[in-house]
């Protein structure tokens, strides 16, 4: 294999391929997915109701609402904006804190508070909102009742926020769009357009073509993986180790993509196979979303060994010793897939000169 030839082909992949839609998808797709997941699932599975408020004076209540953890809060400039936000469902309820609110609370034993309620807000959210504000009003008035509360956790289930549960899926999608899909589709596109046949009459070997295609996917997967980790504030304290893990994951994705592409004849068949088998690629990330499912189920799938060490390093604060075993398995799987690809290339020497 001639490294210079591979470099020339790699340059061509980036200059010509970058105009293609798959290139665009490999770059835009993971970023869009990460944003959508944060946006949609961040609010879909949120537990706390949201209170909107507008403060016409400088009320102590407004400060306490913003500090309160039983609810989320949003401050609005005026009552019109607040009412619109409630109507649109941006908040579950909204109150206007009048300029003389604190004085009224200090002087009176009974206070009337108008509250806008979004029609689709849950009954329990309404109850939590009103109980919270009533509690804070008592705090402003200095008349809260003393209570000693002792909270005891029951069971041994660990709380994992949905944003964390979905993180492995984002990592896998990022690595596989570039490493697997871009690499495989690009090779099949060349097969369909017969440009690979044209290449074979030059001194270029089939191995060099596969190598350049694979490297393109690997480079984009690693770069996009780092961008996604940075977007999710998951670069942690060991970015060099994360780069290595992303590289090993991208190698697996690219070799599997090339293996599949070398077995198929056209792009539609590649996409159809991907649709049917995609669930196998993403299965461990789906299992990870539900802590109730035993974790050994994930370990059956090779892609588990891509995201698990990344999650361990970036989210659990682990180091090399914590991921050593899984990393060795990942390297082993990479070697296995590369050997398999090598065998396939050797058998398909019809492309070679």
């Amino acid at each position: 294999m001639n490294p210079r030839q591979v470099a020339v082909l790699l340059g061509k992949e980036f200059t010509l391929g970058s105009k293609g839609f798959l290139f665009l998808l490999a770059i835009v797709g993971p970023v869009a997915l990460s944003l959508v997941i944060t946006l949609v699932f961040g609010s879909l599975f949120a537990h706390e109701p949201t209170l909107g408020f507008t403060d016409e004076g400088a009320s102590q209540l407004a400060i306490l609402i913003e500090e309160q953890t039983s609810i989320d809060s949003k401050r609005y400039d005026n009552a019109v904006a607040l009412k619109r936000a409630v109507e649109e469902g941006a908040v579950d309820g909204g109150i206007v804190i009048t300029g003389d609110f604190d004085e009224t609370v200090l002087q009176q034993d009974r206070i009337e508070i108008p509250i806008y309620i979004w029609g689709e807000s849950l009954a329990k959210d309404r109850a939590i909102l009103t109980a919270t504000v009533a509690d804070l009003v008592r705090e402003v008035s200095g008349r809260e009742a003393p209570i000693n509360v002792d909270v005891v956790g029951v069971g041994d289930m660990e709380a994992i926020p949905w944003s964390d549960r979905l993180f492995p899926m984002i990592v896998l999608v990022t690595v596989f769009i570039a490493g697997f899909m871009l690499t495989g589709a690009s090779l099949l596109d060349e097969k369909e357009k017969k440009t690979i046949d044209a290449l074979m009459v030059t001194p270029t070997t089939i191995g060099e073509v596969f190598c350049s295609k694979g490297l393109t996917g690997i480079i984009i997967a690693v770069v996009m993986g780092l961008i996604i980790l940075a977007m999710n504030q998951a670069l942690g304290s060991q970015p060099a180790l994360l780069v290595l893990l992303l590289f090993l994951g991208a190698v697996m994705a690219a070799t599997v993509g090339l293996i599949l592409a070398s077995l198929l004849s056209d792009v539609p068949a590649f996409f159809a196979t991907m649709k049917l088998t995609g669930i196998l690629l993403y299965a461990p990330a789906i299992v990870y979303m539900f802590p109730g499912i035993p974790s050994w189920v994930s370990r059956i799938f090779p892609t588990y060994y891509i995201f698990e060490p990344i999650v361990e390093i970036s989210q659990q604060g682990g180091d090399l010793s914590d991921i050593m075993l899984n990393m060795i398995i990942l390297i082993g799987l990479d070697v296995l897939f590369v050997v398999l690809l090598g065998v396939l290339i050797t058998r398909r020497r019809q492309y070679a000169v």
Partner: protein, 353 residues
């Protein structure tokens, strides 16, 4: 119009479509996945926060505290152990152990000791919420230090006690995804006709350009409509206002076919058509996400044509909206479909030249 020619082209397209592994697979798989996703989503929405309470002697008037309220329910447990077990089984959101002298201590201004059990994976989310609810509860039992009188104004349709489960909210998103997936199929068939010059060959027969576009439009519309209607029938989306929904689906299917023409004229081969189709599909799915998470997106969403389909399906199937409520949506959808059809046909005609 030559209806015999149109029928022949429709028949040919149907045969080619289902002979293509990729389209056959995504059509069937899309439908199956849509139905599976619907049925695995929760069929009910938990509107009530259920708090278990144990006390050796419950305070007088305890049972009546939240009587008639939907948001909070207090359930008496037989023992502290039963309280813990019910929390582990998910019967209660939290469990309170009240001291027998609770009311006495409150009336004397002393702080009672209240033990709170929360499932260990819920402690972070529930601790502050339960804290304010306990404060509210003790105020009700011990006499209010300051009484808050809520003047509630519900904005929009009041759904308290009759909330729409997540699976029914997601139904309109799934319909749009199904419809727009057909953009791929139609666009690719059109693109193939242009690429292989078979469209030019067809036009050398007595068939006119109008006949060709009519045939493609009818095929695309029927294919998309059939799937969407089947899906909604299976997931009980046609139980309310079936006439309104079916007309909405027909217009939405026409829109999908029109966008298929546009995507076909934008791409030069299967890969680029598929990628244009994917980008368009993502864009058109955004209004469906907005229905799932109200308030996340605002008025700008109405510039996306699929909003009017999503809104019609959601309003009619979830809230029983009739012709009088959604006629404007249907009219706008018709306008968008007609305009995009005209633009798509013009663009594709240019491609044929």
């Amino acid at each position: 119009m030559n209806w015999r020619s149109i029928a022949a082209i429709v028949q040919k397209d149907a045969t080619l479509f289902f002979r293509n592994r990729f389209f056959a697979v995504i059509t069937v798989l899309g439908l199956v996945m849509g139905i599976v996703v619907y049925f695995i989503m929760p069929s009910t929405l938990e509107e009530t926060l259920e708090l278990g309470v144990y006390s050796p002697s419950l305070p007088p008037g305890f049972e009546e505290l939240y009587e008639g309220e939907i948001g909070i329910q207090l359930l008496a447990a037989e023992s502290e152990e039963a309280l813990r077990e019910n929390i582990l089984e998910g019967e209660y959101s939290a469990g309170l152990v009240l001291p027998p002298d609770l009311v006495e201590k409150l009336s004397q201004g002393e702080a009672p000791d209240i033990k709170v059990y929360i499932a260990s994976d819920q402690v972070g989310d529930m601790e502050a919420i339960v804290g304010v609810l306990i404060a509210e509860l003790t105020q009700k039992l011990g006499g209010q230090s300051i009484e808050v009188d809520w003047q509630q104004e519900v904005l929009g349709r009041d759904m308290a006690g009759a909330q729409i489960p997540l699976r029914d909210r997601i139904r309109s998103l799934l319909v749009v995804v199904l419809l727009m997936a057909e953009v791929f199929g139609l666009a690719s068939l059109m693109s193939e006709e242009a690429e292989n010059r078979t469209a030019i060959a067809l036009l050398a027969t007595p068939m006119t350009v109008r006949d060709l576009f009519a045939a493609k439009g009818i095929f695309g519309t029927v294919l998309a409509f059939g799937q969407a209607a089947f899906f909604l029938a299976v997931v009980r989306g046609l139980d309310n206002q079936p006439g309104v929904i079916l007309v909405g689906l027909l217009l939405g299917s026409t829109l999908a076919a029109a966008i298929g023409f546009l995507a076909a004229s934008l791409g030069k081969d299967f890969l680029s058509v598929a990628m244009w189709g994917a980008l368009i599909m993502i864009l058109l799915s955004v209004p469906g996400i907005a229905v799932m998470t109200p308030g996340v997106v605002s008025g700008w969403i109405k510039v996306i044509p699929s909003y009017y389909l999503v809104d019609t399906v959601s309003q009619a199937s979830n809230f029983g909206a009739g012709w009088g409520n959604v006629w404007q949506n249907l009219l706008i959808l018709l306008g968008f479909s007609a305009a995009l059809f005209a633009v798509g046909i013009l663009a594709f005609r240019r491609k044929l030249r």
